[in-house]
Amino acid sequence: MSSAAHMKRRLRERSEHYLMQAAMRDVGKDAPSTVKAYRDRDGLLWRLLFVPVYRRLPWALKQRAMRSLRMTASGWRAPERRPREPWRPPPL
């Protein structure tokens, strides 16, 4: 595996790990029958810097960043999810 591929894999592994940890903490807050996840002491930069910055970015920007880092699949075409009329609340 090339070093670029290795870096990309490492970036994805680490970012997913800390984003999931943060999401579990938020979504699981006050949920019955859950406990605190085990957390290592390492990963301070990921937790204190990467996660908050990632969360502040809009999804469209994150998608663009992932595409430009070539984290998304190439050679694939998703079938069209045909949008209908933009949704509007039905009349009361």
């Binding site: 591929a5 029958s33 998703a78 949704w87």
Partner: protein, 450 residues
């Protein structure tokens, strides 16, 4: 001379690739290499034999080697391919070189091993090979306490089944709830209850520090919750793509560690396809590659590779991943993403939740079906969901994954047609109830514009 296709791997993807390629192009000479002595059995059924819900391992076999030979396949059982030479078009197995024109790699996965001291002790068991499972099952008869390490789908099935068998089960995972990489906490709650009813002790938020042994034999597991004495540990961590051969011939490896393929299952080298757990494929919503999907995904990918290797043109779509499993006595499922994953990725969503019944409520056996849908806030197109209850979870997850792939909205689902027949379906479909509730909730949040 007709072309020769070599398939490496005898799991779901490999057997599908070999049989379908031969069926599509009978002139093709197809050879399948597998390192194992058995083929065409369901490894996914192994936990249920251990749990004695399925009487015997032989019931898991779906076909025989002889049957594949009758279909015209050249079957090389217990034959490990050790080398591939793409320039010469040969594979090496048992020190013999065999030529090929086309190659399909279906080398599957290997289990992640615990990265702690003692991981090589006797007594750590991995669920994969049916013969090893048969031997382990005999040992289970003499055991009292086991630790299941990893609350993955396999871990949940093993814990529930070994509890059902009457063993004392300690279920250890670092996450805050079971299946926490997939499942949302509200859906995990009934799973916890169901597992505990089967005698499973949940040790969540708990890290395994070391496996302790007497000599070479496992005695206990040292965890952050204390030492757990046990007779065996069933390791159920992540599946890792088995890419050793793929890397040896320079195939591109992606960000998940799987082999990169296009929508025809073509790898980065000409005349080489790959399918199953060794590859990564994009998720339909994010187009981010994912891997280690279900057996049905592996089979469909094997079929796709076969069609294309055999001269047809077949496209495999990005996946929306319907999934489901029985956890204890409770059924859970879903598709695409849940709230936890959407939150982690930062994908905006609105929620639609509802509870219905699986049959007419007066009909014996009716169970509650909980449905949670995630939809895009602007278009209300469905992007994910989770379902739990009794019967009908699988069918709803399958349907919703397909509906999402085609762009269905909450509005579409709120007005969907459904079967009403008391023994099999209630008047009000739980999916439609959830969508209607979601729309009603949204109406209360924003003023009508019409």
């Amino acid at each position: 001379m007709s072309e020769r296709l070599i398939v490496i791997g005898g799991g779901g993807a490999g057997t599908a690739a070999a049989t379908i390629a031969k069926r599509v192009n009978p002139d093709l000479r197809v050879t399948l290499f597998t390192e194992f002595p058995d083929i065409a059995y369901s490894p996914c059924g192994i936990p249920f034999v251990h749990g004695r819900e399925i009487p015997k391992f032989e019931d898991l076999f779906l076909s025989t080697v002889e049957r594949y030979v009758e279909d015209g396949l050249d079957m090389r059982m217990e034959t490990t391919v050790t080398e591939i030479d793409l320039d010469r078009g040969t594979v090496t197995a048992r020190n013999t070189h065999e030529g090929f024109d086309k190659l399909i790699l279906c080398t599957g996965f290997v289990w992640e091993k615990p990265n702690v001291p003692g991981a090589n002790l006797e007594g750590l068991h991995y669920v994969k090979d049916i013969r090893a499972a048969m031997e382990f099952d005999k040992l289970l008869d003499g055991m009292k306490r086991v630790v299941v390490h990893g609350a993955t789908p396999l871990g949940v099935e093993m814990a529930g089944n070994l509890g059902h068998r009457g063993l004392q089960v300690e279920f250890v995972d670092e996450g805050p709830w079971v299946l926490s990489e997939v499942l949302d906490p509200d859906v995990a709650e009934p799973v916890h209850e169901s597992l505990e009813k089967r005698g499973v002790t949940l040790r969540l938020g708990t890290k395994v520090n070391e496996f302790l042994g007497d000599g070479t034999r496992l005695r206990a597991v040292s965890t952050t919750a204390g030492d757990l004495e046990c007779d065996a540990v069933i390791v159920c961590l992540h599946k890792l793509s088995n890419t050793a051969l793929a890397e040896s011939i320079g195939l591109e490896i992606g960000s998940t560690g799987g082999v990169v393929v296009d929508d025809h299952m073509r790898t980065s080298k000409p005349d080489v396809w790959a399918a199953g757990d060794v590859i990564e494929v994009p998720h339909g919503l994010s187009m981010l590659p994912i891997r280690a999907l279900t057996g049905s995904h592996a089979y469909a990918q094997g079929r796709t590779a076969a069609f294309n290797a055999a001269g047809r043109d077949h496209v495999y779509d990005p996946v929306w991943v319907p999934w489901g499993l029985v956890a204890g006595d409770y059924t859970i499922g879903g598709f695409s993403i849940g709230e936890t994953l959407a939150t982690a990725m930062g994908i905006p969503y609105v929620l639609a939740k509802g509870v219905g019944v699986s049959r007419a409520r007066y009909f014996p056996g009716a169970t509650r079906t909980h449905v949670k849908l995630l939809a895009e806030p602007d278009t209300l197109r469905v992007i994910g969901g989770q379902i739990h209850g009794g019967e009908g979870v699988k069918e709803r997850a399958d349907f919703l994954a397909f509906a999402a792939k085609r762009g269905a909205t909450l509005e579409d689902l709120a007005w969907m047609e459904n079967i009403y027949s008391p023994p099999i379906g209630a008047l009000f479909e739980p999916v439609a109830i959830a969508a209607q509730n979601g729309l009603a909730e949204l109406r209360t949040r924003q003023p009508a514009t019409v």
